[in-house]
Amino acid sequence: MSTKARFVFVICAAVLIASAASHLISRWIGLPQPGAAYRRIGPENGPQVFCAGSSLLQFGLAWPEISTALGQGMENWGIGGSSPSEWEMSQPLATNANLMIIGVSVYDLNEYHLSNFRANIVPLTQTIQDLWRAGINRQFAKRLVSQYPLAYMRALFPTAGNSDAVLVGLRRKIPANLRANAAAEDRANAMVVPKDAVMEFGASTEKLSDWPRAKTLRRLALMRSETQGVHVFTGPKQLALHRMLQRAQAGGRNIVVVLPVSPLYVHEFLTPEVTRQFEASLAEVQKNFPAAQIVRLDQLPALQSDEFFSDPVHLNGAGRDLATAAFLEAVKPHRPPP
């Protein structure tokens, strides 16, 4: 074999071995796969409710109760860490929907908070169009566009660009094999997305108020580094949200649920200016889509405590019960007759 051929062989073999290992590790730690997970609940007959939202919405409301109260089946295409840009892509799949419940928050409407799987779901042309229309800064545009080569690379290396999920997976998996009891305890408190296609998400008993200070600081540091400590509400996500509401308006009713984030998150990230910008973006939604009902769970006084959150942004079981009651109360006048 010539030197050149040996070199090519070495490089190809190294890439193949690393790729195989990446696939094995991804499978072993159960790394979330790109693409949406379809879930539903309630009667399958008749018009359905299309629920669009991230895990904040999934865990923030008790869907079996809501389905019973509304008397309708509900459908959701869930994507980890998603936002309107990704939800928009599943909207055409809900062909039999006469009501859309869309859950937004100051956390997932932040343009700087990106889903790991955005590039697998949103076409590149759509992203470029949105970046062009929104006139967003070059640095952020580069960050968004560079997700696309990463998505292509994930065909070969599914763990690429997913180091947080890999580390969390390894930390969860290794003690699970070494110490069964500790792992069981972890699982009891962890927010685990159901494996079955049912819209019934476990109620976490964990309380953010009980978190050790060190754990809180570490999590906040990670959140800060992910978004570079910036909150911006004008950009591709905002455009996608408006397009979704526009489309849904033609097909039926719209409910926009504004989900709460913990007081800790508010204290750490939401300056008066950020809050003003968020309110301005909601006001624009209301102005452009006056028929949409906006339910402000984020302004519910009962939820203004870290006791009702399992982490800085997700409601726990107790918080979910309060939020569900308030949500049903707010949508009651519009309930369809039995």
Binding site: V10, V15, I17, S22, L150, A214, L217, R218, A221, S225
Partner: protein, 474 residues
Amino acid sequence: MIFTSFEFVIFFVLVLAGRSLCRSLPAEKWFLLVASYVFYMSWSVPFCLLILATSLVDFAVGLGLGGMEDQRKRKLLLTVSLLANLGVLAFFKYTNFLLANVESVATLFGTHLNRWHYDIILPAGISFFTFQSMSYTISVYRRQIPPCRSARDFLLFVAFFPQLLAGPIVRAADLLPQIYHRVRANIYEIESGLSQFALGAVKKIVISDQIAPNVDLIFSNPANYDGFTLWQGVLGYAVQIYCDFSGYSDMAIGCARIMGFHFPENFQMPYSAASITEFWQRWHISLSSWFRDYLYIPLGGNRKGTARTYFNLIVTMLLCGLWHGASWNFVLWGGLHGLSLTTHRLWKNWKPLSALNEHAAFRWVWTPFSHLLTLGIVLVGWVFFRAQSLPVAVQYLGRMLGWSHDGVHLLSPYILPAVLAVFVTHLLVQKDRNWALEIPQRPMFLRIGFYSALVLLICLLGVTDSVPFIYFQF
């Protein structure tokens, strides 16, 4: 466009492809020059003119020096070059620092001045390209090298993209001859360049970027944390800055080698040093040798008596500190290293030491102690280097050295494993080995194993959000 971004990978592949299509050496040089300026324009378009202007001044000075015998005129020409380079550096980097200090001194004497502050953007890589350019004119002045006769070649020497933003500061005597002649990498050089690039990427995105949020968290508010956490913070920063900067250097050297160019090594296991003198022979070698050759030796080096030698050492290190940034923190950091270097020199010249060194028992105790002492000094220095201000640095050191028990006890799952990995490597691996050069000569199965491990590490633990290199701010 940073080395760890997809943009750079695409850019570099295009450069390699474009260069291979160039039929003649002049065409190839023009191509590399344009590519280098395009690379810089991804950071800033207007500042390209600044590099162009300073390069042209130095090119003209070099030509002038080459054809001139009158020593007074030669000195004058050199002064023009130094003033142009240092003037640009001083304006962009030190204006606000100087004004703030003038204001403080005036306040001290009871005069109140209006606060002066100008919004000056620091051009990326300014400290590096000005030093590289100055090294050329000084070398021509000293008649160590002939002047470069082609403006294109000289512009390429200053702006060559792998080393433009953060070094290594390559001397004209090393790089210009490689530009004059057509260089091409053989398979061995391509493989060793690739492996050095991958090693650098692992250091940067797997270690440095991974621990950065935790280190930032600790340094952002040291009063919040107990002594253990603060030790963890400074150890983490020591690893972060080493992996960040040596990672950048590895990637720069790797890129250049893939194209057939040879840059000098910039880091050689600095934390394995047994003295602060050895530390500076292993840390940012291209900068420390620049200061040695162009500042310490011209000041008199060690040729003008003991007291003058110590003075020269301290002045050199104070200026080295100031080179890193316009803040008293950096000056103090340099001062600490200067004092440590003089103390080490005093100790080395202490007569009874040579007698003591002959006893195995002394060496057995002294060797590990000298390693720890060196590391301790370096760590204390990093606190000044990283802290946001002088009072914060003092507070940090007070709580860290006093092993304060109050405050949050934070055990980062990332910092300690990274610190352990880097320090164990420094202890176990022979200090002067260069893996990137060695691996391509090993048996095939070892090469495959090593490269797949590097690729897997990047794909498992690499942070893909491009985080700029720490040394870009200098």
